[in-house]
């Protein structure tokens, strides 16, 4: 197996990625010839209407799904060649996920939810809890650590999900409509948190159908009918690297 070059400037590089589904006897192309490169520390949004193939792209980026064709280099490693166990390991150790529906375990405490993303990566139990509490402090929820998610507001739940995604120190944070279930004020606060993480050096790829949300990223990529096109920098409001909650505290993390 290739040694991962975690110092490489490019976190992911898609080259001619295609994904087709068989629906009955018809072959449907969800993604066609996608080329995308995301550099380390970059904050990229992928914007498109529903059914445009953006979820398919996110699943491939997150190693949850395999492309039908093309090459996917993740931190310099050709992940299309990996077997399932190796892909699972890359996914578990190097990629963090934030979902629209939060995906929190309602019967487990907030801190247990956050530790879950480190469960399979070999971090000792005591260290998992310490790191989870630190991550919760970073998203402003240290007081809620022992609550169950059912007692939290939507914004707080998404903050827990973000804490869970970043606590394992991933190379890439994938966010799937992270503000889709939130009101505009809460959305703004969550996007501010992403800005802070970006400022801390985290590589973020966010998927959204909302152009205004997408515009908070350094760079936006538009997807329509499975085809990607770059959005001009001029369309961006850009430069939202100003943190709301002190991005600097992520820089010194191991």
């Amino acid at each position: 197996m290739t040694i991962v070059d975690s110092e490489a400037e490019t976190v992911l590089a898609l080259d001619g990625i295609g994904r087709t589904y068989i629906s009955g006897e018809v072959e449907v192309a969800a993604l066609a010839e996608v080329h995308l490169t995301v550099g380390r520390g970059e904050y990229v949004s992928i914007v498109g209407p529903s059914g445009s193939g953006k979820s398919t792209l996110l699943n491939i980026l997150g190693l949850l799904d395999r492309p039908s064709s093309g090459s996917y280099l993740f931190e310099g490693l050709e992940v299309a060649d990996l077997d399932e166990t190796q892909r699972t390991a890359v996914r578990g150790r190097r990629i963090g996920f934030v979902f629209q529906a939060f995906h929190l375990l309602s019967h487990r405490s907030v801190v247990e939810n956050v530790t879950l993303s480190m469960l399979y990566t070999g971090v000792p139990a005591r260290e998992r809890v310490e790191r989870a509490r630190a991550a919760l402090a970073a998203v402003g929820l240290e007081q809620r650590a022992d609550f169950t998610p059912t007692r939290l507001s939507g914004g707080e739940r998404q903050r827990v999900a973000i804490a869970r995604a970043i606590v394992a120190d991933p190379a890439l944070l994938l966010a799937d409509e992270p503000t889709g279930n939130l009101d505009s004020k809460t959305s703004d606060s969550i996007l501010g948190l992403f800005d802070a993480l970006r400022a801390g050096g985290l590589t973020i790829v966010m998927i959204t159908h909302d152009a205004s949300v997408a515009s908070r990223a350094d760079r936006s990529v538009r997807i329509r009918d499975g085809v990607l096109s770059e959005v001009g920098a001029a369309e961006h409001a850009g430069g939202h690297a100003q943190n709301h909650i002190g991005a600097g505290q992520w820089e010194g993390r191991p």
Binding site: V4, D65, Q86, G92, Y120
Partner: protein, 406 residues
């Protein structure tokens, strides 16, 4: 990049957390296994207790009885002439160490002679009966643990004088309307009169005496064609049955001891096992069925749990859980449910045995391995029940699982 892994400790705590998050459902699921295991434990316990109990009551009677008969061949047929017992059979056997009492008994052939009390010709009621006539030795009453209702059993004096006396079994006495013996009533066998000197109340062995007219052997020889007793009843000390059973034929006929057939009691252990076997096979099937129902319950609920937690499974897969981690978690959850059910069931089963024994004033008997093996059986039930749901959980694709679950 290394593979992901999950320590046993983390696996166990995840499984426990999974079960504890739905305590009411977990308990209800476990109930089936509790019933199955408790039924099994209670069944085995009751069978062992009852086996012990039955042997206890059998011991007093059965384990102290040795019967020697002159029936040759397995079914007493054999065709050849029957071997006779020596006239001093009672004396020979009583000299053996371990014999408490000994007596002989034989059937007397009286031909067509009917038994009656009063020789009258009464057309309105029958007063002549065909009743078995037995010849017995003075020691027989003790050897069959008999009790007299009235009067007394004949002694060696009657035997040596060949007195015309009889003792009636209770059945024969009521047929012949003999209710008192203080007036020395007489019964007739044909035309021969005999004084009734006693009536039996009951015998523990040789129950055919209860409906018979019993006379001393010498009397039988005097009036009828009676040559030898057919049965020697021996009451032996507890534990001596095997030995007496081996010695008695030699004492009776040193030249050819094999002409007699000896019945010794089965050893208490084999009797106990037989009783337990009979009870067990019936109730073990019931317990097994309960356990099967319990297993189906666990399988069902684990499967429902898998379907409910599809989102969680997708999430865990996203966080690096391999298929086997998912499978092992659900398998451990179902095994833990089975184990808890097994522990609760074993406890309940032991309680049932103890309470039942207490109400009957029996001594509860239960093999010590049962309360240890029963929870393991529950765990195995849970493990087997969890196989299919776990495979279903592990086969889920992370993308599909994340999309389906919330």
């Amino acid at each position: 990049m290394n593979t992901t892994h999950l320590s046993w400790r983390d696996l166990a705590s995840e499984a426990i957390a999974g079960l504890a998050s739905r305590p009411a459902r977990t308990l209800l699921t476990v109930l089936g296994t509790v019933l199955g295991i408790s039924a099994l434990v209670a069944t085995v316990g009751i069978a062992q207790t009852a086996g012990n109990r039955i042997v206890g009551s059998f011991d007093e009677l059965s384990a102290t009885s040795v019967v020697v008969t002159n029936e040759s061949g397995f079914w007493g047929g054999g065709g050849g002439p029957k071997a006779s017992f020596p006239r001093d059979a009672e004396d020979r056997i009583s000299r053996l160490n371990g014999v408490n009492a000994v007596g002989v008994v034989g059937t007397v052939s009286v031909g067509d002679a009917l038994a009656s009390t009063v020789k009258i010709d009464d057309p309105t009621a029958r007063n002549e009966f065909q009743i078995d006539v037995k010849a017995a030795s003075p020691g027989l009453l003790d050897a069959v643990k008999g009790e007299m209702r009235m009067g007394r059993w004949f002694d060696s004096g009657h035997e040596s004088r060949a007195d015309d006396v009889v003792v009636l079994g209770p059945g024969a006495a009521s047929k012949l309307n003999v209710y008192r013996v203080d007036q020395q009533p007489v019964v007739f066998l044909g035309d021969q009169a005999y004084v009734v000197m006693g009536v039996l109340r009951d015998v523990s062995r040789q129950p055919d005496l209860l409906n018979a007219i019993i006379m001393p052997e010498a009397t039988a020889r005097k009036h009828y064609d009676y040559t030898s007793a057919s049965t020697v009843q021996v009451d032996v000390a507890l534990g001596a049955a095997e030995l007496i059973g081996a010695q008695a034929p030699i004492a009776l006929n040193p030249d050819d001891p094999k002409v007699y057939r000896v019945q010794v009691p089965p050893s208490p252990n084999s009797l106990r096992n037989k009783v337990e076997g009979d009870v067990n096979s019936l109730f073990l099937i019931l317990g097994g069925v309960s356990l099967l129902v319990g297993a189906i319950g666990i399988a069902n609920v684990t499967l429902v749990s898998v379907l409910e937690r599809i989102g969680e499974i997708g999430l865990r897969r996203a966080f690096g859980a391999r298929r086997r981690h998912i499978a092992m978690q659900f398998l451990l959850e179902s095994t833990a449910m089975g184990l808890v059910g097994g522990i609760m069931g074993a406890t309940l089963g032991v309680l049932v045995v103890v309470i039942l024994s207490a109400t009957r004033e029996w001594t509860p008997v239960l093999s010590p391995w049962i309360p240890i093996v029963a929870p393991l059986l529950g765990a195995i039930t849970g493990l087997v029940a969890g196989v299919y749901p776990s495979m279903r959980a592990a086969s889920l694709e992370p993308v599909e699982a994340l999309r389906a679950g919330t």
